[in-house]
């Protein structure tokens, strides 16, 4: 029985006071040891119990932020953009003079968008197996952003229940306009998730033309994921409902009918069997016939549809979108929204993420071992939160190192 309930303000207050890594969060947002506009003009919003929602808070120092957070003990807090003026002064500046200027480029991937595909869990549930979808998405997005857009300061953060956030802090990324953000998101978006039980559709291909080059790269990567997750682990086409969805994606009624006939009347065929049945059907069309490329394109689309990252585009498109801060506690699961190392994403198990209750018990145990121990702000050292704090600390250090180096070189690059 977990007596330390994440919805209790007392539990949250202790968590914020003793465990929340404010210093690292500050360094990560501010890029420098002394507060700049990146921090002082930044919006923080607080969600209090009973859904009371406080917007447009801003702070001069991280100590002020900590004080306020400990005082209010919000169920969570969010980080918004850097404005032209301090958000707390919003009412005193001319409305036209209060505008979002900068903001980390953020992405949100959520299991909700995979509900029409996954077979292991339903609704709010998530397990190690369906995390495979998220892991595949993280790999593709992380590689694409680094390789294509050249950004290096990517922080992946588990959202506390069934999704993951990405925060990109490169200087150029911070300053992107909404228009540029939209362009980048549309470059990345290849798949439009369907509503309800519909699988969705591939939006990146125009007509029957080849896929754009950036997706051809992703495709070769995802073909493997498709085989592992969709065909084997999730057995997505095992059930009638599952293979029905597949058959609807085949733009050749003859092929679809043949397969339906075989699968509905014959002995059970696994997803892997069915996928090779489809391949064999396509091979019946000789190379050079017009049906052949149409059907191979359709197979590519199916792979993308089932494995390509499904993004919540609206989150990324606007500078003034608020996103839950890392290390907040999910009020329902009690799990901390911890940073995740993308190179170890496959080993990440959402069910192994520490909960606030667990952490406070660890703290108690450590406290009784060494009385008058360390200062409050580094209490997390003695808990299982440590490896996660280390990730953001290291991340923030490399950002700060970049800024230091940039200052020395007075930035010779021009674009």
């Amino acid at each position: 029985m977990d007596d330390l309930d994440a919805s209790s303000p007392e539990v949250m207050r202790t968590f914020y006071r003793r465990l929340y890594p404010f210093k690292s969060i500050f360094n990560w947002l501010n890029h420098q040891p002394v507060p700049t506009r990146l921090f002082t003009h930044r919006e923080f919003s607080f969600t209090l119990p009973q859904d009371v929602y406080l917007r447009y808070n801003s702070f001069n120092t991280v100590e002020d932020l900590k004080k306020q957070v400990c005082l209010l003990a919000p169920t969570r807090f969010e980080i918004g953009p850097v404005y032209t003026a301090r958000p707390k002064d919003k009412k005193t500046v001319r409305p036209g003079a209060f505008k979002p200027l900068q903001r980390e480029l953020v992405f949100d991937i959520d299991m909700t968008d995979y509900d029409s595909i996954r077979t292991c869990c339903k609704d709010a549930a998530i397990c190690k197996r369906c995390w495979g979808f998220i892991a595949a998405a993280v790999r593709v997005l992380d590689t694409s952003i680094r390789d294509q857009f050249g950004y290096q300061h990517l922080l992946w953060v588990y959202s506390g229940r069934r999704g993951i956030h990405l925060w990109i802090s490169d200087k150029e990324a911070l300053s992107l306009t909404d228009e540029q953000r939209r362009a980048l998101v549309n470059w990345m978006m290849a798949v439009q998730p369907g509503k309800g039980k519909e699988v969705g559709k591939v939006i990146a291909r125009s007509g029957t033309k080849p896929l754009p080059p950036c997706l051809q790269f992703a495709l070769s990567e995802l073909a493997e994921v498709f085989s592992d997750i969709i065909l084997n682990d999730q057995d997505c086409f095992g059930s009638e409902e599952g293979y029905d969805a597949l058959l609807h994606l085949i733009p050749d009624s003859k092929v679809a009918e043949n397969l339906r006939e075989k699968w509905s009347t014959g002995p059970y065929r696994t997803s892997e069997d069915k996928w090779s049945d489809l391949k064999n059907q396509i091979k019946k069309y000789p190379k050079g016939t017009s049906q052949r490329p149409i059907l191979t394109s359709a197979m590519e689309d199916i792979i993308l549809l089932y494995t390509y990252p499904r993004l919540d585009a609206e989150v990324s498109k606007h500078r003034n979108h608020l996103l839950k801060a890392p290390f907040c506690v999910h009020p329902k699961t009690g799990r901390v929204c911890v940073p995740v190392d993308p190179s170890l994403i496959d080993d990440f198990d959402p069910e192994m993420v520490p909960t606030v209750g667990q952490l406070l018990r660890e703290l108690d145990a450590a406290g009784s071992q060494n009385e008058n121990g360390m200062e409050h702000h580094s209490d997390w050292e003695s808990t299982s939160l440590k490896p996660y704090v280390d990730i953001i600390t290291k991340h923030a250090q490399s950002l700060m190192e970049d800024v230091r180096r940039g200052k020395r070189e007075t930035d010779t690059t021009t674009w």
Binding site: G96, G150, N186
Partner: protein, 497 residues
């Protein structure tokens, strides 16, 4: 190549010498307008240049509103241009200097007129960039190349080694070639330029370029995208600067009325005292989806009535539409939002999208002064509504039967605090034909919770004389009340749960 010191190889022909002089200041037909006009002009000259340019920009906006195709937009705009703002290539035998001077001057006068609000700036940039684009596309190929080389676009030519390195990726963007040989040949002939991807968001959005490390590899045929983006960005920055500098400029008191007039002509229809509060910041603008709630909370009975009928029937007759449309316009609904609002309101009626686009959209734009004789139509006042004598769009206090009026009042305002015990007094003033007093009394009663006392009317004892006055006052009072509350539950964002 050409670095601004373009010297055309002219003959000794005397007439061409004049042109040579003319093009020295404006070597190209295309202009990025980096340099302000630094010469004396008469007020008349200035006004003509600006007004003529305004016609072109209005045509461009109108094209967008009518969903004209790019080719249509181009041909309509070109036709207007040849009438009001001809701008010829260097090869033409016209007075190039005067043409280009007019183009230059008009642009800068309109900058002054349109820098003053976010909305105006946005529309001005959109229309001006479209004009630039049309001219760019219709420019003589060689002159365009010279123009492009005359500017520092900060693009880096991709050398052969790099081109070879990314050959597969670059070639993958070639589509529509029959065979590999044609494709290979086209690729060999193509030159690539590298720019940060942020400078060509449109190409990125359509996945028309190869991206590596944040650099976009732009083929020369897509160079125009860089120029368009540059034009937009520069104009955006310049307008911001002008807006900042404007209050400090020693404004010629002959210039100011002209500027006001110009921007109003563009906004057309929205009176200037309304524009001032509503155009600042996006939050205060009335958007289509807000109308329903505003109607519940802030509209006088006449407009409530029209709104209810529209919701019930998904349609309003011509004069009802006109009356309600003008009211909404003055309330702060932009023309774009008005189109959205009416289109949504007509969903479920016999009016199909096609018909809506053809007829209703025109009428809406007309009432905003964007079509026809472009008049600034004001919203109907109480005086006009009282004379209308129609129960559907006139003053309900006058035209409704007593029974209908009472039930209309209760159904409209009981949620705002009006009870049947308030009715006798209201009906008494109605029967004495003091309709505006009745309306004012309703305002007082329904705004008692905001502190309005009996006899205060819509402020300082004033009674209702205009539906917009009623609504505006009501909205202002709500805003004040809201602003004074510190804890607000604003739910304008999604959060991950």
């Amino acid at each position: 190549m050409f670095k601004g010191s373009h010297k055309p190889a002219f003959s000794n022909d005397a007439s061409l010498q004049v042109e040579n002089h003319g093009t020295a200041q404006y070597p190209f037909r295309l202009n990025f307008y980096d340099k302000p006009p630094l010469y004396d002009v008469t007020i008349e000259d200035l006004e003509i240049c600006a007004l003529d340019r305004l016609r072109i920009l209005a045509e461009i906006e109108s094209s967008a509103a009518r969903n004209r195709s790019w080719e249509e937009t181009k041909s309509f705009t070109m036709a207007q241009c040849s009438k009001y703002l001809p701008l010829n290539a260097n090869s033409a035998r016209t007075d190039l200097h005067s043409e280009r001077r007019k183009d230059h001057l008009g642009h800068f006068v309109l900058r002054l007129a349109f820098c003053r609000s976010e909305d105006l700036r946005r529309r001005f940039i959109k229309a001006e960039s479209t004009l630039f684009r049309i001219r760019f596309e219709t420019d003589d190929g060689q002159e365009r190349r010279q123009f492009l080389s005359s500017r520092e676009f900060r693009w880096t030519a991709v050398d052969n080694a790099e081109k070879e390195k990314y050959k597969a990726e670059l070639k993958a963007n070639y589509q529509g070639f029959r065979n590999e040989d044609d494709k290979e040949r086209a690729f060999a002939q193509e030159n690539y330029y590298k720019v940060r991807w942020t400078r060509v968001p449109d190409l990125v959005e359509k996945r028309k370029v190869f991206l590596k490390g944040g650099w976009a590899y732009v083929p020369s045929r897509d160079q125009s995208s860089i120029a368009y983006q540059e034009f937009e960005d520069q104009l955006g920055n310049a307008l911001q600067m002008t807006a900042k500098a404007l209050p400090r400029l020693d404004e010629d008191n002959r210039l100011l009325p002209i500027l006001n007039n110009l921007s109003q002509g563009f906004v057309a229809g929205v009176s200037s005292d309304w524009v001032a509060p509503s155009s600042e910041g996006n939050e205060d603008q009335v958007r289509a989806e807000m109308v329903d709630e505003l109607a519940q909370k802030h509209f006088p009975l006449c407009m409530r009535n029209l709104h209810q009928n529209l919701k019930k029937d998904h349609h309003l007759k011509h004069f009802e539409r006109l009356t309600y449309g003008l009211f909404l316009k003055v309330l702060g609904l932009s023309v774009e939002e008005a189109i959205i609002f009416w289109r949504k309101s007509f969903v479920g009626s016999h009016v199909k999208d096609d018909k809506f686009n053809k007829e209703y959209k025109y009428n809406i734009r007309h009432s905003y002064g964007l079509e026809g004789r472009r008049a600034n139509y004001p919203a109907k006042s109480c005086q006009q509504l009282l004379m209308a004598e129609s129960s559907s769009y006139g003053c309900p206090y006058r035209n409704f039967s007593p029974e209908n009026l009472q039930s209309a009042l209760l159904s409209a305002y009981s949620s705002q605090g009006l009870t049947s015990s308030d009715l006798p007094e209201i009906m008494q003033t109605v029967s004495a034909r003091h309709y505006h007093v009745a309306c004012t009394r309703v305002f007082e009663t329904t705004h008692a919770k905001s502190g309005v006392k009996r006899g205060e009317g819509v402020g300082a004892g004033e009674s209702v004389t205009h539906p917009n006055q009623y609504a505006t006052k009501s909205m202002e009072m709500e805003k004040q009340r809201k602003d004074s509350m510190d804890v607000k539950a604003e739910m304008e964002m999604e959060v991950d749960l």
